[in-house]
């Protein structure tokens, strides 16, 4: 059994020192790794990143994160990443990592992701350069997620994003903003990359559970959704799903 703790959208500001350290501390007894699904800060300053490092670093479990849109707001994502990494938090952006967990290996592929919407109700890379740039950004994120998943040779493959790969977990959010909350392209990458489970944040008023078209379980672990400091998912160490045939070469 692999125990994966996850939470997103903790949104720590400079005044939030001491806010969540105590509530996160039991994770060392309850889980084999901790996933952070982005929006760790309010506006992405280095000062806020230092608070995150202090609150979340050194909890005693491998901790793997992606950044969220808030973490990019001040245009200091590289510096934010560096501060988190120095605190022992792995930060993934189109990359993967392997964690030894309870006798098995867990591979985590992570990317922030981006928006665009969901099948039948989504933007297309057509027309103005700005529209094309928007969708190309999502396409690049999805491609990097797929590649990172395919590179993992582990007992369990986990996809970690900030933006949602499915609309299931957005129920509760206004439908008008779904295109700003995620993209079906991420779900396609998750299916094609052979993920066993996917975690995301971003949708504070969404729902916890969903699945991709390929049947991969998706969990929205945004802090307001799980209504707890983190949630622990017990995963049986089943053989990793084979990537979809079209992507086996």
């Amino acid at each position: 059994m692999t125990r994966i703790a996850a939470v997103g959208d903790i949104h720590l500001g400079v005044d939030d020192v001491g806010l969540c350290r105590r509530s996160l501390s039991p994770v060392v007894e309850e889980a084999d790794l901790l996933l952070l699904a982005g929006d760790l800060t309010r506006i992405g300053t280095t000062e806020e990143a230092a608070v995150v490092a202090k609150e979340v670093g050194g909890l005693g479990v491998p901790t793997v994160a992606v950044l969220g849109n808030h973490d990019h707001h001040s245009n200091h994502a590289p510096e934010v990443t560096e501060i988190l990494v120095e605190a022992g938090i792995q930060v993934l952006e189109g990359a993967g990592t392997v964690v030894d967990a309870n006798g098995g290996s867990v591979g985590v592929a992570g990317v922030k992701g981006f928006g665009g919407g969901f099948i039948g109700k989504c933007a297309t890379a057509f027309g103005e350069a700005e529209t094309k740039a928007f969708i190309r950004t999502t396409e690049r994120a999805a491609d990097s997620l797929r590649e990172a998943l395919l590179d993992l040779d582990t007992d369990v493959r986990v996809a970690l994003t900030h933006y949602s790969p499915v609309s299931d977990t957005l129920r509760g959010e206004p439908k008008e903003i779904y295109p700003f909350l995620g993209s079906w392209l991420l779900a396609k990458a998750i299916d094609e990359g052979g993920a066993d489970v996917a975690f995301h944040g971003h949708a504070h008023y969404g729902s916890e559970r969903g699945t991709t078209a390929g049947g991969v379980r998706v969990r929205n672990v945004a802090r307001p959704v799980i209504d707890a400091p983190y949630k622990v998912y017990d995963l049986s160490l089943l053989p990793t799903r084979a990537p979809e045939a079209a992507y086996v070469v």
């Binding site: 949104h11 622990v232 995963l235």
Partner: protein
């Protein structure tokens, strides 16, 4: 003030709550009915909830605020789910 202008007040307030670095909130529900401003959502601290109220007063002066924003319960125990 005519009702239709209140819709622009809602838009201005949503923008202010997102852009003001004191709040940086994209998800707070805002409704203005006449002179009554209704807020809903969830934030991490009481201090942050009060900052949201301050930004509201600065952006739409004179309204009466009905604040239904809840504070995340940081004393809650973690939760579990089995996936197999």
């Amino acid at each position: 003030m005519a009702d239709h202008s209140r819709r622009y007040d809602v838009a201005a307030l949503k923008e202010a709550l997102a852009q003001d670095p004191r709040t940086a909130e994209l998800g707070i529900g805002v409704r203005i009915d006449g002179n009554e401003l209704f807020l809903e959502g969830a934030v991490t601290t009481e201090h942050h909830r009060l900052l949201i109220e301050a930004v509201c007063q600065e952006t739409v002066p004179g309204v009466r605020i009905h604040d239904d924003i809840v504070i995340d319960d940081d004393t809650a125990a973690s939760r579990r789910e089995r996936l197999s």
